[in-house]
């Protein structure tokens, strides 16, 4: 007699739908399986269920070594898998003219040295994003887990994804909309440095309005970042490239930064995303817009 309790009709349903009732019970950590469990499990079981074919003895193909996934990495992988599986995400691609930003950075070089602050392009993005979030409050929001309420935030904190030897960390710049570029630049440098040493405090992470993940210093032309819940969007940045811009008949080289906004479609519609990114690109192209 099977240790899994299921009525005869439930067992028949499971067989018809190709669900292994004992495996399902183990997966759900239950002894009793009902018909609802079967109908509910049918689709995930088809897409995410059977991973037995992943279990390959790789050494049969050549030499291998094994290293354990750190606890940190295991937690991250669970969260990422859940975010990818549960959020209907769309990625919107945009690019922004960074001529003005580059010019500003150049002209402020002396002052930067004097202040001891490295004014990176990322600092401009943090500043621009925090202003954009004030202009588009639905992007600065979280959906409750039951999907019944949208929580709108009257603060702007920007998460910065930092690549470290021990994994991805996301320290947060608090109240970025009320901070100037110099301060933002200094905080980025401080947090990123401490993240490398794994010295970011727990209270310096979490609670972000939106996260920026910046691959600009490494390369790439576009990517599709995974939304970091409970945030509803994430902004990806890749390497600036010089593109040909046409002023009438005259070609002009313009440095443009590729921008990729992945967003939770339950909260944000495509048109909103396009408006948001147009606005954002405008702030980057002409930073004076951040003042008005």
């Amino acid at each position: 007699m099977s240790d899994t309790i299921a009525s005869p009709s439930t067992r028949r349903l499971a067989r018809e739908q190709g669900v292994d009732i004992d495996a399902l019970a183990r997966k759900l950590g239950r002894t009793t399986i009902s018909a609802e469990d079967i109908s509910g499990s049918a689709r995930p079981a088809a897409s995410a269920g059977d991973t037995s074919y992943w279990d390959v003895d790789h050494s049969q193909y050549g030499p291998v070594t094994k290293e354990p996934m750190s606890r940190f990495a295991q937690v991250a992988s669970k969260n990422l898998a859940a975010a990818q599986a549960l959020i209907p995400a769309v990625t919107h691609h945009e690019r922004a003219d960074v001529s003005a930003i580059e010019a500003l950075r150049k002209s402020w070089k002396a002052e930067a040295q004097a202040r001891g602050v490295k004014l990176t392009a990322l600092a401009f993005h943090v500043a621009a994003l925090s202003r954009a979030l004030r202009a588009f409050p639905r992007f600065n929001a979280s959906l409750t887990p039951d999907g019944e309420d949208l929580v709108l935030k009257d603060y702007v904190h920007i998460g910065i994804a930092v690549d470290t030897p021990h994994g991805l960390m996301v320290p947060v710049i608090r109240d970025a909309d009320r901070k100037g570029l110099w301060q933002i630049g200094a905080e980025i440098a401080d947090l990123a440095g401490r993240a490398q040493a794994r010295k970011v405090r727990q209270d310096e992470m979490g609670g972000a309005s939106m996260t920026i993940t910046n691959l600009g210093g490494i390369g790439g032309t576009a990517f599709t970042p995974i939304v970091n819940p409970p945030e509803v969007a994430i902004l990806g940045i890749t390497r600036t490239e010089t593109v040909t811009h046409w002023d009438g008949d005259t070609p002009r080289p313009v440095p443009m930064v590729p921008l990729d906004l992945s967003y939770d479609h339950r909260v944000i519609n495509g048109a909103d995303a396009a408006r948001f990114m147009t606005h954002y690109a405008g702030l980057i192209a002409d930073p004076r817009n951040m003042l008005v």
């Binding site: 007699m1 309790i5 009525s7 005869p8 067992r11 028949r12 067989r15 018809e16 190709g18 002894t31």
Partner: protein
């Protein structure tokens, strides 16, 4: 001439006709063949149904006798064996005729004759070739004939015993399983002096010993002599008697006017030309089939007694439905291991699921709870005698795992516990389900409540 059919079902017993009818309902063209001139197989023609008719007659005789205690006395019953036989045959005829009607309504082609497979997709029936896409072997089983026994008209098997040729003054029954005990019940009531010889240490081997003891006491009280742990070593015949020489718990000779052999049934797998189709048949006549009825040959399925133990009609019926569904392209399989057993003796003995002995053999920790029928109002008020309802359960979860019931209508009562086990019920579920009062079914709830400590009827 060659006929063709989607599905050929060989054997029209409860497995075969259920399979054929289900397949026809699912849209297949079906041919159902049986060597008998009537549908229904052993069960309807010479097994379950005629034996129940005779057991009903036996019960009426016994009940009439017992009414003397109640101040109601009948005369000694007058037996008209021809009329009783005719009544039994009438019931069988009614049911088998009904099956013919059901087959016709479904446009199932029925053929009479012995079918022999000639290949994985062909068979021969009395000289006619038939080609099939799929075949289901449902040829059942036959009573085991013990080796070394003489040929003699007074040595019967269950089939000839149910023909009711006469009521011998003395009758020996070799084999105290369900069939032997039912025959003892019938012939004892009809007036024979019955002796049962069983090789195992208890009658109804495999059933719960506590329940079996109640049945044994009742049968002995009716005048049946029972020798367990006893082997028949020699059978000799004279003009007057058949003599059984016994060793074991009973040493000596039993002289009887007739003997019934009921030492089990043997699968008929070696009687259908299975080898020609590429199938292997065990030396016990069994054709192996999986939970869908599939055999080693993709075009051929097997169901019922021919696939081995337990050889019971209700198992065959379920297997038949499943094979039909699988052949029609559906996903199905026999999911359950719960196959109820019922001896239609007086009193009836019925069991399903795990017994304590089986659980012990499997190393599984179980507990048992029971309710004696001496405390059942409905049982006593209906003239019922001793009886027992016993439930086997998992002490960690209170989940019901098995049941044994001995007493009047035990076979009917068993359905509740079988469903309860299928549904994964706990003793609490049974105790909290309101059972009508006064009924015999209450004994099931009482047994559950006894284990839970909530019983107020004991």
């Amino acid at each position: 001439m060659t006929d063709t059919t989607d599905l050929l079902v060989i054997g029209a017993g409860p497995g075969g006709y259920a399979c054929a009818f289900r397949a026809a309902d699912l849209g297949l063209s079906v041919t159902l063949v049986d060597a008998r001139d009537r549908l229904g197989g052993v069960c309807l023609n010479e097994g379950c149904i005629p034996s129940k008719a005779l057991l009903h007659a036996a019960e009426i005789i016994r009940e009439a006798q017992h009414m003397a205690d109640w101040g109601i006395t009948f005369g000694k019953p007058k037996l008209d064996l021809d009329a009783l036989r005719a009544k039994k045959d009438e019931i069988v005829g009614h049911l088998t005729g009904g099956l013919t009607g059901l087959a016709g309504r479904r446009k199932v082609t029925t053929l009479q004759g012995k079918a022999t497979l000639t290949g994985p997709n062909s068979a021969e029936i009395e000289g006619t070739q038939i080609r099939f896409d799929k075949a289901v072997i449902a040829v059942g089983s036959a009573p085991v004939q013990l080796p070394g026994w003489p040929e003699d008209d007074r040595i019967w098997d269950s089939t000839s015993a149910l023909e009711l040729r006469d009521v011998p003054k003395t009758l020996a029954i070799v084999g105290g399983g369900i069939i032997g005990l039912e025959m003892a019940t019938v012939y004892c009531a009809l007036g024979a002096e019955v002796t049962v010889v069983e090789l195992a240490d208890q009658i109804a081997p495999g059933a719960d010993p506590q329940a079996v003891a109640i049945l044994r006491d009742a049968q002995e009280a009716e005048g049946i002599t029972i020798h367990t742990g006893t082997q028949v070593t020699e059978v000799t015949t004279t003009k007057a008697t058949v003599t059984l020489t016994c060793t074991g718990a009973f040493e000596g000779q039993i002289k009887a006017k007739a003997v019934i052999q009921s030492v089990g049934r043997r699968a008929n797998g070696d009687k259908v030309g299975a080898e020609a189709a590429g199938l292997s048949v065990s030396d016990r006549g069994v054709i192996e089939a999986d939970a869908t009825g599939a055999t080693d040959v993709p075009s051929i399925f097997a169901i019922g007694d021919v696939t081995g133990n337990p050889m019971l009609a209700h198992r065959a019926t379920h297997q038949g439905h499943i094979a039909a569904e699988v052949i029609a392209g559906h996903r199905a399989a026999l999911e359950t291991t719960l196959i109820p057993s019922v001896a239609y003796t007086s009193p009836e003995l019925a069991w399903v699921g795990l017994t304590e002995a089986q659980a012990k053999a499997e190393g599984r920790n179980v507990k048992a709870t029971s309710f004696p029928w001496a405390a059942s109002g409905r049982n006593l008020a209906s003239g019922g005698r001793d009886g027992l309802t016993k439930l086997v359960y998992d002490p960690a979860t209170n989940r019901l795992l098995g049941a044994s019931i001995v007493g009047r209508n035990a076979g009917e009562l068993l359905a509740e516990v079988t469903l309860a086990i299928e549904m994964g019920a706990r003793l609490d579920d049974i105790g909290l389900t309101i059972h009508a009062h006064p009924t015999l079914s209450e004994t099931i709830a009482f047994a559950a409540e006894r284990a839970l400590g909530t019983l107020t009827d004991l």
